[in-house]
Symmetry: D2
Subunit: 340 residues, 4 copies
Amino acid sequence: MNQDETALFSSDLVLEMEDVINVSSLKHKETGIKVDNVVIEGIPVSDVTITDQGEKNTNKKAGRYLSFHLADSDGEKKNVVQVISHAMTSLVESPERYKKILVVGLGNARVTPDALGPGVINYLNVTEHLDVKPTPSLSTFVPGVMGVTGLETEALIKGVVKETKPELVILIDALKARHVERVNRTIQLSNTGIQPGSGVGQKRQSIDQAYLGVPVISMGIPTVVDAVTVTYDAMTVMSKYFNKAQEALRAPKQRLFQGVLHVGDIEETEPLTGSEANKYFGLFGSLSTDDQRHLINEVLTDEGRNLIVTPKSIDDDIHYLQQLLAKGIHDYIENAANKV
Amino acid sequence: MNQDETALFSSDLVLEMEDVINVSSLKHKETGIKVDNVVIEGIPVSDVTITDQGEKNTNKKAGRYLSFHLADSDGEKKNVVQVISHAMTSLVESPERYKKILVVGLGNARVTPDALGPGVINYLNVTEHLDVKPTPSLSTFVPGVMGVTGLETEALIKGVVKETKPELVILIDALKARHVERVNRTIQLSNTGIQPGSGVGQKRQSIDQAYLGVPVISMGIPTVVDAVTVTYDAMTVMSKYFNKAQEALRAPKQRLFQGVLHVGDIEETEPLTGSEANKYFGLFGSLSTDDQRHLINEVLTDEGRNLIVTPKSIDDDIHYLQQLLAKGIHDYIENAANKV
Amino acid sequence: MNQDETALFSSDLVLEMEDVINVSSLKHKETGIKVDNVVIEGIPVSDVTITDQGEKNTNKKAGRYLSFHLADSDGEKKNVVQVISHAMTSLVESPERYKKILVVGLGNARVTPDALGPGVINYLNVTEHLDVKPTPSLSTFVPGVMGVTGLETEALIKGVVKETKPELVILIDALKARHVERVNRTIQLSNTGIQPGSGVGQKRQSIDQAYLGVPVISMGIPTVVDAVTVTYDAMTVMSKYFNKAQEALRAPKQRLFQGVLHVGDIEETEPLTGSEANKYFGLFGSLSTDDQRHLINEVLTDEGRNLIVTPKSIDDDIHYLQQLLAKGIHDYIENAANKV
Amino acid sequence: MNQDETALFSSDLVLEMEDVINVSSLKHKETGIKVDNVVIEGIPVSDVTITDQGEKNTNKKAGRYLSFHLADSDGEKKNVVQVISHAMTSLVESPERYKKILVVGLGNARVTPDALGPGVINYLNVTEHLDVKPTPSLSTFVPGVMGVTGLETEALIKGVVKETKPELVILIDALKARHVERVNRTIQLSNTGIQPGSGVGQKRQSIDQAYLGVPVISMGIPTVVDAVTVTYDAMTVMSKYFNKAQEALRAPKQRLFQGVLHVGDIEETEPLTGSEANKYFGLFGSLSTDDQRHLINEVLTDEGRNLIVTPKSIDDDIHYLQQLLAKGIHDYIENAANKV
């Protein structure tokens, strides 16, 4: 998780980049961002490729990012495990080439919303130390966080990689989201590594293939948001709601019966724009959504009110997510073993 | 903590009742609410009394509520312990009368922000079972929550009180706040007991002196807020900020030098009103603060977006608060022992 | 677990009573102890009945005790769950009569080997609080231990039973064994309740049907032994080993080839007796096994060396056992529901 | 802790080597073992030096070992902290030379008796990452255990040391004792590093100055013993008891009054020898103490009964010991800082 968590616009999710959100896959030559929406095991997966040109245009590293959402429904677990495993296979392309895998659990095991990575390790069955070991073999490492170790996490990982020589490194980390509904819901996998403190002024070393010398898969799930996000999301929900409510009011049925207004699901509704936005939300409403977020961030940060929060249910959520990722990794390894 | 946590306007803090906030202590005969602001051990404490008339006017039980805030500064701990102990003594009036104390830790020990009560118990030194026991003696009870026990918490407590016959019961519970800055900060003590699910349609039995048959002190600290609160607070901060910014812009110094605008601390600033509120925030801004909160709540709840959240730092915070309350209880007992 | 854990001969297992061990099922009229050995789901189960006469002859409460051992092999789990469930059904005779079940987890959740009971609760799905609840319904209670609550555990349970009126109470507790190989291995179920501090001078109230007013099933697994037990067991193993070794030495094969002596499994071998016992172990060896244990206990207790110990693997073991008992209870409830 | 814990005679304590126990400090030229008994802060400390010759004679690495016991009494804590700090200073000789310290917590954080090392880390305040850092600065590392990581612990440490370049490494590990009374009681500090699986056939790489390239202090406390140890200790206690009892019986007072025999404290009493040993314990008693232990080990190991155990109180004990070592390290750093 980012060290400086109050950073403006910080999000660890590629899906939350404006450029990705708005880009059409046709014009990806100019933007350097290619977005494919595919369906794996019945689950919609966003497949984003950022070229070197794209990296210059954004603050996201060039590479490939696969993202998908967990649904509310129970019983989806098996599907999700297969999507994770499928996405990993897709990112490494030739899973049979990597015969020694190291899984690194980033984050602080004693801070519940930051314990995603260390907790996944507890659910993995390592094999690297066995006399007769399967291929690929599995080992794990929990480096801890700088506030507890006093050491740069990237240096610890590099030292261990140099000494133990894995052929593929899987990094797992809790992320920060810019949309409340993604918290404990969106799973992002990429081959770009992890940038500690990305989006923050202070540049820190990326933990990636260039740095470690071996291919890297990173897996992350956002577990926290800031007050700016909660507020911005709520204002956007209200703007959409008012928009839909206006339509609903104009419907003949509503005009005839004048009953209680049922606005219903606003998933597909746009926020208000133009004079409507101004009518309901004044100058604030007239700002672009980007500027609205900027403004909320500026004010809350100035006043020291930009609290980082996590759902009250985090204790249960995090155990579920840890097990899910561990199962995904085991499934990937089994598939890779079958190809060896 | 309330069972139905999305309840409109739910707050467990008396300080957050509009009536308390607005009342002048002069006119308390009509409202039935008397507010005294005192200073104990250098810390400002709000001392609210609600009469039977006041109970009818509000949804808060008649009795006395003492509340105060933890400051940021370290090293305040000793003071705070004494304020807790002093407030307890003040609520029971004659501490020497209660020779057998039972502390009940409410909440779910396995949900971090709900573990305030069960955790306090871990820091208490019980004496009830000793052959030679001090007066007052101390015993503890952790009833668990209905989702885990399947039983009504109030019934468990009543059963134990009947069987073990304490002379004073201290209830400890994590609360829900309606203002972000109170989270893990405001300590409220009262002699009114605890109403599970207060403010929620479904009426549940109060855990109070009438129900248990012995005097009750309840101690609570809010550890969660909902998205409505985060949003409402942020909008209010912005409104205050704009108000102060307008003043700052009118200042000669700012007009002359046209530098970066420093708005500064807005603690004492009021939110915008009237045409100014409308200019910046449109129809939304024109609503009363009460209606704004109602509106945000209605929309977020309708759309299933009213997440309950807790600070990311909750793991550390909760341990600190548990120890604080335990020390306060020990200090109260020591003082009571000296009076016996 | 017994409060006074250094009590001479203390064991919570009926299987470890000399009378049970030696009794033949034929002469049970005099002893008041009837022992049947049956096989359930492929697992040998000892079914001991103690009559009122038997209670006078022993320090064990009259009633029925079912005991069995967990084997080393994996994959036995399903069988074991069914044996637990079968034994419970057998103890209550008419499971369809008990429509409201309360499971009580005895012991200290923060002392690993004592956390069996409280931990089982975490794996149970309660239903008592549901609007539409199955029959039998399930609720739970964790009273804590006297050192933490200051209160007598039996009083807490009685208070809760009076107030919530279950029709069947299931007590779960960690026990103490008198044989090392039973630790984390032997499961004992009975309908006699639990005697806190049984076998200890100080008589405490039994938690049983007479006290609570409803039928009681108690389930226990030993998780600790004392140094006396470890020592006595080791001396007995040595005595058996020497006995078997003497036989082995007399075998023609051994006399011919004079190779390394392979003593092999001594499970079926008796300890040395008479002059052989004296030869190898002197006066100590000449004592009855009972007196040997008495002597070791006397000396270690006198010298303050009778440490209570638990296997190093207790953290893993206890979680496994907690889940096992919880599954057994769920299976019992499912079976009972089918009979309603 | 040793990987192969059933290893014959395995002990991680130098104090438990026969050679150390029996050696007189006069003849240390031949044995290569020098034993000094000193008193630091009122606590007796054994100061053992093993030369290269001594290393050949024993299976203990050449270097210096400082050991002392925790007493029962409360309130000794401050003294003990100073002894730890003093011993560390003594082992490094010039503390002001080592400006960057890495503390490594060995063992499995999820196995209570093995969590000594990882737990100490939780109580340390690291400074290595601060912009303005004190000298010496402090950092920490928890490598995990091979069963969880699949990797050799020594390789992980070496990788981290190479990459982060500390000037002094402090290793903390839970040990295994050969005497029950040392468990959670004896603290051993040395400059020889740690030998994973020392005393076991399979040779593993030592974690020491030669391997890591920087000076090493290792700190250990035994937290487990095996059944052999418990048995051997109990038999020895009995032998001493009988010896003292015989003397007591011969005392005129006892002969006159024939009351209950009070044997009293046997701390200073020797076990029985010669014909007396044979009388009470037969052939077993006639063996040398060394051979007795060998025999018990052989039989229990053959029969798969050599359980590793830990005191029932381990949960509380381990937290106390973790804090103690952390305070010792902080005190050492403070002293070193004053010398810089």
